[in-house]
Subunit: 269 residues, 4 copies
Amino acid sequence: DGPLAVIAGLNVLEDVGLALEVGSELKRICSDLGLPYVFKASFDKANRSSITSYRGPGLDKGLGMLARVKSELGVPICTDVHEANQSERVAEIADLVQLPAFLCRQTDLVVAMAEATQAAGGLLHVKKAQFLAPRDVKNIISKVGEVAPDLGVIMCERGTSFGYNNLIVDMLGIGAMHDLDVPVTIDATHAVQLPGADPRTAGASTGGRREGVPIIAKSAVAAGADGVFLEFHTDPDAALCDAPSCLPLTGAADLLKTLKLIRELVTTG
Amino acid sequence: DGPLAVIAGLNVLEDVGLALEVGSELKRICSDLGLPYVFKASFDKANRSSITSYRGPGLDKGLGMLARVKSELGVPICTDVHEANQSERVAEIADLVQLPAFLCRQTDLVVAMAEATQAAGGLLHVKKAQFLAPRDVKNIISKVGEVAPDLGVIMCERGTSFGYNNLIVDMLGIGAMHDLDVPVTIDATHAVQLPGADPRTAGASTGGRREGVPIIAKSAVAAGADGVFLEFHTDPDAALCDAPSCLPLTGAADLLKTLKLIRELVTTG
Amino acid sequence: DGPLAVIAGLNVLEDVGLALEVGSELKRICSDLGLPYVFKASFDKANRSSITSYRGPGLDKGLGMLARVKSELGVPICTDVHEANQSERVAEIADLVQLPAFLCRQTDLVVAMAEATQAAGGLLHVKKAQFLAPRDVKNIISKVGEVAPDLGVIMCERGTSFGYNNLIVDMLGIGAMHDLDVPVTIDATHAVQLPGADPRTAGASTGGRREGVPIIAKSAVAAGADGVFLEFHTDPDAALCDAPSCLPLTGAADLLKTLKLIRELVTTG
Amino acid sequence: DGPLAVIAGLNVLEDVGLALEVGSELKRICSDLGLPYVFKASFDKANRSSITSYRGPGLDKGLGMLARVKSELGVPICTDVHEANQSERVAEIADLVQLPAFLCRQTDLVVAMAEATQAAGGLLHVKKAQFLAPRDVKNIISKVGEVAPDLGVIMCERGTSFGYNNLIVDMLGIGAMHDLDVPVTIDATHAVQLPGADPRTAGASTGGRREGVPIIAKSAVAAGADGVFLEFHTDPDAALCDAPSCLPLTGAADLLKTLKLIRELVTTG
């Protein structure tokens, strides 16, 4: 029932200047609002629809950029791991080590990430797969518990398959995951994706509904989410990945203030 | 962007004393909160899973009970119509004449209800079917507009089919219906039903998740719903219909206060 | 495990000449193949997307046309009922009295149809709603059994809601309904509809995938369906209702022959 | 339009004796029926619900067992790859190198497998993810085509997410994938899984509906599938992985004969 946690930043690292600009602005907003803040950006987008999509700077360069954001801004970092052998290096930098949704049932990856994250003193942020029922994340939590019993796990709702080319967020799923004694965050950015349906590329990348992001965020916080995961850009339409669901940085202060107030309402009610 | 409308009362009419007790308490709470209030109860449950389920007092007796609630409490009334030939009699009493979800595409019923409701000066409250996409309610609105161009229509979200024996609420659907220039309400009570899955009766009636009702209500108001539809009882487990999703009347004041505050937050934000 | 039953004809009655032409050709084909044949056509389309859609000749004129098909061709008739008070008149003419999918849980309609059909010596053909799990049709069968214990009921699969604007056929549902000791038919024509998605009318009528009809029919017969429900036209694109899912009459003989052979394979196997 | 391809064997390698027994029996049956046969077994189950589930003999021992089946029985081999760095070793033994459903959008894995399989002269067997629309597999095919333009790709339907804890097979998806000019197989064994719902382990492993396997196989072949993927065991209830959806080897001859005849019917029809 603490304050709303904010995991926010870029979809994917572009250049370090953008990362610092977005991170410092979000840090300032969260500081003003009294909300804990974690900077998020991916160094690699390993599951793009097309082979020609922008993938990011990669592990070496990307971790260097994240380390610089961490030290210059003094903020914790969230980034995702795609292969078991990346776990230790990522856990050195990231405070919130993120397991991608499509990969959340790959045992070797879960085990490697859990061990590395516990050793480094971080937390595990698990995106619930689009094909998984909320209560079934108990199997992931159990896997983690067996190899890293002291590791904190946070579950993240990012939408569930609903027919073809659509995701839907089950607000009752937040409570179903809370019942497993883990904090729950809402990834409102990915939850509005329209898989395989970006009309700008005839389906070669994933579409989105940018105007839906604040709605899903507000709804989920009202439903009890403990944190919110959001992706911003100074020029959303020019974002190199997932532009259709990217929010303008200029709107961050208003949205986060509203979310903070909803959180207070539903936790003190 | 006005205050949150509250359509609330009983699932189905039982005896008039209960209706007056529930209606007067909800009227008092809404009055204290400055929220417009409409008393809701059905006189017939025409689509029960089993032929032996309680169906209510029927048209004659039920309209009499609703008329008494209306005059004694001085509150507007919402109730539903199941056959075209009931439209005129219902529209005489009900201020909000409700089209059931399963029937929302039956043209003759829509036309009869629209004509009778416009003539009587009421509004039409349309439950979006579980099998209908939010944007496709435009066809219902068009049908109404052709025969009753001055009639106000309110769309109600009550959950969408999600696999078997489950409903899910698409919070982005509220905005999709707003785009059609109609107010949108959330029926949080029916939205938590588990169709055909009440374990107490081995599937012969519909189950529900009572604890989910406030979550769906808060989420939907945060997402922009203009009104909330809720069913209460003084003894929910003893409710003669849909007990598993019925809320205790004792919790109404706290829930409605929270919903009012969320509404204010998201409309002034 | 008998021969495949064929319920086939027109979506909606247009003129009697067309009904006789389609019915006589289908009768001839089924006779050649040794398959029992029932002529199907609706006299009213009561649930159109738009108020301006063609609805058919109506009850009086429509039943007259069906009576003429019945007597001139000597074939049994299948047509649907939309309101309880139509039941007796329809049951006088129709041998297979059909309950529409959206209405399959309306108790008064089910009861009236069951009583009238039993009295007239017909059978009840129940379209499983798009929002209903296969095993939950047991509640419909129970309702019928309580008022018409000697009435034969046939369940018809016509697709299940799958996200928005799409239907999907669960081939395992055929067995789930067989487990309730009723014959099961496949309505391959309606199963390929794309609700609310006919691009020719910007969503004001329902789209379809004509090329999918034979696929669904073959699949379902392979999965154990005892009968097939199909709609034809001499000029499918000119059909006054549901043209996108209408088959050309010229293809009927080949399709029915293939279905007959699949049926023989899976029942003798 | 050639004969039905049969990819069949074990879910996971147990001991080499079982693999040889199952493989030789299936080879014999397919030879009698004139059907091309590929032996399938996994060396590792990398995405189990629980960390304590049996995972198989692993890469080294497993490839040794598969090599022995290949040489002793003279049959081609199908097995799956879970990490990019396994690709070359697997492609040396396997003729049909299989990409798992959950991983089908992981670009590095797709690229590594495509390159290794083309180099080794094999074919790629891609399981369509449960969260992917059939037409969207074009992005996977494009990725493969860019790095391995001469590599043959076969798409495999294994069910699509349908609500929680359920899969459904869209028979129209087979044609949608055929439209991309690739052969399509049906994995009838995994298609009947009930994810996260094995009542024997309270959700710690995945349930299934063994009796549904032949139904899905027959339906899909009737719908146009070019090949069938099936898992057998001499003692299905004792299978170390996915027992609820495993078929008895004793039923293989009858089922494959029926499938062969359906294939002939629909390709000559």
